[in-house]
């Protein structure tokens, strides 16, 4: 199974986590940071990234600001107060999920 299918459900959490660590980021930067951290193993497609960013913005979890960069407009995303709280919750949820998944996939480790 491709990693992109597994990534889909965790995309919002990944975005929130990255923005928690970096004050503000733009779309392309997010795709590159994921690629860089995972040494190219995970790849966020633009077709999935932008709808997710726009949805998080509409939900009030992200705020945006635009800046002129080399004669073009760049849209930066950053976490709102609610987004910050949501990032903590989502990351904790995902960590719990991964621990339980590990127990299911490798029961011996879970018992130990």
């Amino acid at each position: 199974m491709s990693s992109s299918k597994l990534l889909k459900g965790s995309l919002a959490t990944i975005i929130l986590k990255l923005l928690e660590e970096n004050e503000k980021m733009y779309g392309y930067e997010i795709t590159q940071r994921v690629k860089e951290i995972t040494a190219g193993e995970f790849k966020i497609t633009e077709g999935a990234l932008y709808p997710s960013l726009h949805k998080l913005e509409a939900e009030g979890l992200l705020s945006t600001e635009t800046q002129m960069v080399e004669n073009r407009v760049r849209k930066y995303y950053s976490l709102t107060k609610e987004g910050n709280a949501e990032a903590h919750t989502k990351v904790a949820e995902l960590e719990d999920f991964l621990v339980n998944l590990q127990k299911l996939l490798n029961p011996k480790l879970g018992l130990g």
Binding site: Q32, E57, R72
Partner: protein, 232 residues
């Protein structure tokens, strides 16, 4: 990286070809294309922008269908977001200190209707409350269009502006239908006739709702309606 005029036109052509005509997506994708191209040029200095767009970026977005999907989802998100903002702004009139102002406005209109007993005052106030936001939105829309004409950025609209404008101009048809409904009810229901023409509290409620609508639309417009483009 500074793009040549030809490269700029290639990106604009590509985005227009994909029906990306709103400011929000156009600016974001334009920056994405240039950032991505810059990065790839570091590895392959001979890479042409055209082949980068068609051979690399287009598949990354999931082809033409992928772009269309992003556009559709974005339009839905904006419509939902503006609607949510309108509701939150309307409800904010009843929260904290604003509740005192709202109560003050309502009591004043009630007092006005009780003393004047003049239906023309009520109808005039309601029409004004519907027409003021519409007049302002048309003026702001004109300013935005003027700004577009001056800088010719390659897109023609702003989705958020369009949604706010839709809600504001819808008020005209609402007012028309409301007037039609009221006049029909006045003829056929004596009770309603009495309520409408003689009851100051009912009249003040109608005016209050119109003022709430006017306040809501003006506040949303003030914060979300773009009239100028960001330029260097």
């Amino acid at each position: 990286m500074k793009l040549s005029q030809e490269q700029h036109e290639q990106i604009v052509f590509h985005l227009q070809h994909l029906d990306i005509d709103s400011q929000e997506l156009f600016e974001e994708f334009y920056d994405h294309i240039v950032s991505s191209y810059e990065k790839h040029l570091q590895v392959n200095p001979d890479l042409s922008l055209k082949s980068h767009i068609w051979d690399y970026l287009q598949p990354e977005f999931g082809g033409v269908g992928g772009f269309k999907d992003v556009i559709k989802k974005h339009e839905k998100t904006i419509a939902w977001n503006v609607s949510k903002k309108i509701v939150i702004t309307a409800l904010s009139a009843f929260k904290g200190k604003n509740l005192l102002y709202s109560a003050g406005v309502f009591l004043s209109t009630w007092g006005l209707m009780a003393t004047s007993k003049n239906l023309t005052v009520m109808v005039g106030l309601i029409i004004a409350c519907f027409c003021i936001p519409m007049t302002i939105v048309i003026k702001k829309h004109y300013q935005f269009k003027k700004s577009l004409r001056e800088s010719n950025p390659g897109y023609y609209r702003n989705l958020r502006n369009g949604t706010i404008m839709l809600y504001t101009t819808l008020s005209l048809s609402t007012l028309y239908n409301l007037g039609h409904l009221v006049s029909k009810s006045l003829d056929s229901h004596a009770g309603f006739n009495h309520l409408y023409t003689q009851t100051a509290l009912f009249q003040a409620t109608l005016i209050g709702l119109a003022i709430l609508y006017c306040y809501t639309m003006l506040t949303v417009m003030k914060h979300d309606f773009k009239t100028k483009l960001l330029t260097t």
